[in-house]
């Protein structure tokens, strides 16, 4: 079993091509941006704190064989619904966060159940099904808050409702819960301030997910994720296991979105969830995850690098090419490129597997 170090290094590079490339890109970006490291670290850590939770919510469905869960947008919508309720009821601080979570929880379960049922009907095409489902539910979501708010939903606050008397305004101020979690336990470390409570929540989730995989349920997920048919023959209830994975993912995404927006402080009612799925998926892939394999470590590493690149690229664009816009384009380009690359790689591997059979 002893491999020569040289060979294992090559294998290491081959197996971790995406993260290594990204590390190099980040390094170049940091140098080109000309910004002090402390500033970059502060920015990255702030974004990482608010975004890790959502990225982590993607790990479970991948392990359970559902691929990249584009349907976490549904969870994000549920989370936003919770936040809207809190903003209307003016529940402040930590209580507001928990209320938002409590409101969004049943919604996320319901949406997750719907998504899970569809995924179980669309086996092998989960990703495209999830993506389209996201688009569809976006329509439903808009309908609810454009026409339902103020008519069916008891939202009275004139600052939230459009002048016509119904429908939510574009932005909802989340001042009531802004930084409620981030500021709970903030520690300064040299030039960097750390939102410890948010990190604690992320750490708790990380721990929880790794624990989950050591349970019977986790083992079943891993089995179903590798081969549904074999798992089925072994007596594992594949559909139920997949459903549980979707429920977990959707609920976590809802909580993740709440944590995300408590950091931002304002909710773009019709827009905030738009890119949640795509960017979280890109971040996860950057960390070295694939359509069939993901770990919490990859999620955290990916979130870090993805956001670092996001921060440095406009500055780097400004310094190198005289235009921050180039950097903006570059990061959007990178986000979609990494997803496209990963999907192409996946279908290539699947093709090979099919031929082998």
């Amino acid at each position: 079993m002893e491999a020569k170090p040289k060979r294992s290094l090559r294998l290491f590079i081959r197996d971790n091509g995406v993260p290594i490339m990204f590390l190099a890109l980040c390094g170049l970006g940091v140098v080109a941006s000309g910004k002090p490291l402390g500033f970059l670290l502060q920015e990255t850590i702030g974004r990482m704190a608010r975004n890790s939770f959502i990225v982590l919510s993607l790990v479970v469905p991948i392990v359970a064989g559902l691929g990249l869960n584009f349907a976490i947008v549904l969870g994000a919508m549920a989370g936003q619904a919770g936040l809207i309720a809190v903003a209307e009821a003016k529940v402040t601080g930590l209580a507001g966060i928990f209320t938002a979570i409590a409101v969004s929880f049943p919604l996320a379960l319901l949406l997750g159940w719907g998504a899970g049922s569809i995924m179980n009907k669309a086996k092998g095409r989960e990703m495209i099904a999830g993506m389209i489902l996201g688009f569809f539910m976006n329509g439903v979501y808009m309908l609810v808050f454009l026409f339902g708010a103020g008519t069916i939903l008891p939202i009275k606050d004139p600052k939230m409702i459009l002048p016509q008397g119904y429908g939510l305004r574009n932005t909802v101020d989340l001042q009531v819960i802004k930084w409620a979690l981030d500021n709970l336990l903030k520690v300064r470390l040299g030039p960097v301030s750390l939102p410890l409570a948010t990190f604690a929540a992320t750490a708790l989730l990380t721990w929880g997910i790794s624990k989950l995989f050591s349970t019977k349920l986790g083992q079943d997920m891993r089995a179903a994720g590798q081969d549904m048919r074999i798992a089925e023959v072994a007596g594992i209830q594949v559909d139920r296991t997949r459903m549980v994975a979707m429920l977990i993912s959707t609920v976590l995404a809802a909580i993740g979105q709440i944590l995300f927006l408590q950091n931002i402080g304002t909710l773009n009612v019709y827009d905030s969830h738009g890119q949640t799925g795509t960017f979280a998926i890109a971040a996860l892939l950057v960390g070295g995850a694939t359509v069939t394999k993901a770990t919490v470590g990859q999620a955290l590493l990916g979130t870090f690098m993805f956001h670092l690149l996001f921060i440095v690229s406009p500055y780097a664009g400004q310094n190198l090419l005289g235009s921050a816009m180039v950097g903006e384009y570059f990061r959007a380009f990178v986000a979609y490129a990494v997803i496209a690359f990963s999907l192409a790689l996946h279908s290539l591997q699947r093709g090979k597997m099919a031929i082998r059979r």
Partner: protein, 530 residues
């Protein structure tokens, strides 16, 4: 004991859409006994086992008739899980192993020992922790029982195939309370010494009081290891006999069945002979997964119908696919002495060879296009037929001639449809197959390779297809190479039948040769050796 037999299946019948694949089958096994279950492909072995296991495919197609008794009690399993918990285990023909799991995890798949946790007390056992040390320990013990000294923590991915089979067996051995164990072709992929080791393990398992059902095409193994042998043919039990006193020839003969008299097929002006070879294969190897060809040399006489027979998975289907360039091939194929380049689909067509694929829907037909299009497309692509020249030097499809041709074919072949523009998707399997034949005819081939032409189509259409093929052969002198899993079909229409076993040519038989000869050849034995 009140019941003599541990497992009894009584009068079990099963039909798929009115087509009976099992007709009143009886099967009995005692505890500690090894029962051999043999039969040709399609004899009903798999269906019988699917019933035993309560596989969903049985229930979604209307269940079965008859009864299954386990230790004297009637059972009717709704799903494989129930069968498993009742103590029925199966070592599958294909490996049911997860490549990313370790050997130990695979052995204990869905039977992991658990440690309760705080959460599991409230939210159900699925949140219990998997007891990895015990998973390892149990797996180790099972592996030791069958004599396999491999590290149980290795991932299954990349293990040699022989090992995978042993892991499958270890999994079944590990199951506590297993009473009936089914082995479906367990030695098919093993080397001889591995197979010997496996059979020894199997005997050890049986002697511990487990009833073993051993399904195999390797008749010698069945004879050496089994106490009794049940022979299935066309969904019926032909006989159940103690293996002591039975001979290879006898079992082979029973498997293949009665000699059916061949109806006369029409006269030829010139009898095919070895003096006039149209197609010559030399050491052809084809890398078709599941149907590998490992070096076949064969000469096809001009004007004959040559049958290619053998059991599924032995490589007979790979042969024509290799010639046509559909799967990677090595070796040499000559048509009229001219080398046909391999691995280039289309080349064979240019040499006047046409192909009716066994994979009708996959590579054969374009289901969402019309009958007319499907019939003419290959001739257009390879020979430039059905084209209309335009003055600018290009050509477009001449729909008129194609439609006229299709109308003729519909008439001649009796394709049941609304007209040449009907989409293929809406035709029955038999009529789709007729379209395939019509398309092959449109190529005006000298040699026609036909693969499983009657698979999955009804009896009437079957007759029509066989008539068409013999008609093409007799009237137009087309040389036909007919690959089929149905021996009866081959014996009805072929001049000679080549039997493929383990990717190699065993023997070329005459259709009038004895059943025993065929049975033995299909088990890889040339008659002179037996």
């Amino acid at each position: 004991m009140a019941h003599e037999y541990l497992l009894e299946m009584r009068g079990v019948s099963k039909h798929y859409h009115g087509n009976y694949v099992l007709k009143g089958v009886d099967l009995k096994v005692k505890a500690g006994e090894i029962l051999g279950l043999v039969g040709e492909n399609g004899a009903g072995k798999s269906t019988l086992m699917n019933i035993l296991f309560g596989m969903p495919v049985i229930h979604t197609t209307g269940g079965y008739e008859g009864e299954v008794r386990l230790a004297g009690e009637t059972v009717r399993f709704a799903n494989p899980g129930e069968a498993l918990s009742a103590g029925i285990g199966m070592v599958h023909q294909e490996f049911m192993l997860l490549p990313g799991f370790s050997i130990a995890e695979n052995i204990k798949l869905n039977r992991e020992p658990l440690i309760p946790t705080t959460l599991s007390r409230f939210l159900g056992t699925r949140l219990s922790k998997v007891d990895m040390p015990r998973v390892r320990g149990d797996a180790r013990r099972a592996l030791d029982t069958i004599g396999l000294g491999i590290d149980e923590m290795l991932p299954v991915l990349g293990l040699p195939i022989g090992f995978m089979q042993f892991i499958e067996v270890a999994r079944e051995v590990d199951k506590s309370g297993v009473r009936v164990l089914v082995f479906d072709e367990p030695t098919a992929l093993l080397t001889e010494s591995e197979a010997g080791q496996l059979l020894a393990a199997l005997k050890r398992i049986a002697s511990s009081g487990v009833a073993v059902i051993f399904i195999s095409h390797r008749l010698e193994e069945v004879l050496t290891i089994c106490d009794n042998i049940t022979v299935l043919r066309d969904g019926e039990v032909v006989t159940t006999t103690p293996s002591a006193g039975a001979t290879l020839t006898m079992i082979a003969e029973l498997m293949v069945g009665r000699q059916t008299k061949r109806p006369p097929l029409g006269e030829r002006t010139v009898e095919p002979s070895d003096d006039d070879i149209v197609l010559e294969l030399y050491n052809l190897e084809v890398d078709m997964p599941g149907e590998e060809v490992r070096g076949v040399s064969l000469a096809v006489r001009r004007g004959e119908i040559l049958g290619i027979g053998g059991l599924a998975g032995q490589g007979k289907v790979g042969l024509s696919n290799g010639i046509m360039g559909i799967f990677p091939a090595r070796g040499s194929v000559k048509k009229d002495g001219l080398e046909i380049p391999l691995n280039r689909p289309g080349e064979a067509y240019k040499h006047g060879i046409a192909f009716l694929s066994e994979d009708r829907k996959g590579v054969g037909l374009i289901l969402d296009r019309s009958i007319e299009y499907n019939i003419s497309v290959v001739a257009t692509l390879t020979k430039g037929d059905f084209l209309k020249r335009l003055p600018i030097g290009a050509a477009i499809r001449d729909r008129k001639t194609a439609t006229a041709y299709a109308e003729g074919a519909i008439e001649d072949l009796d394709i049941r449809c609304t007209g040449p523009t009907q989409r293929l998707r809406h035709l029955s399997g038999g009529n789709q197959q007729k379209v395939c034949v019509a398309r092959a005819l449109a190529l005006k081939p000298e040699v026609l390779l036909v693969s499983e032409p009657t698979r999955g189509i009804d009896v009437g259409a079957k007759e029509k297809i066989l008539d068409l093929l013999t008609g093409m052969n007799r009237q137009q002198g087309v040389t036909i190479v007919l690959t089929s899993s149905e021996l009866a079909e081959l014996r009805r229409v072929c001049d000679r039948i080549a039997i493929i076993y383990d990717g190699r040519l065993v023997d070329i038989l005459s259709p009038d040769d004895s059943n025993a000869k065929f049975g033995l050849a299909m088990a890889g034995k040339k008659v002179s050796e037996a």
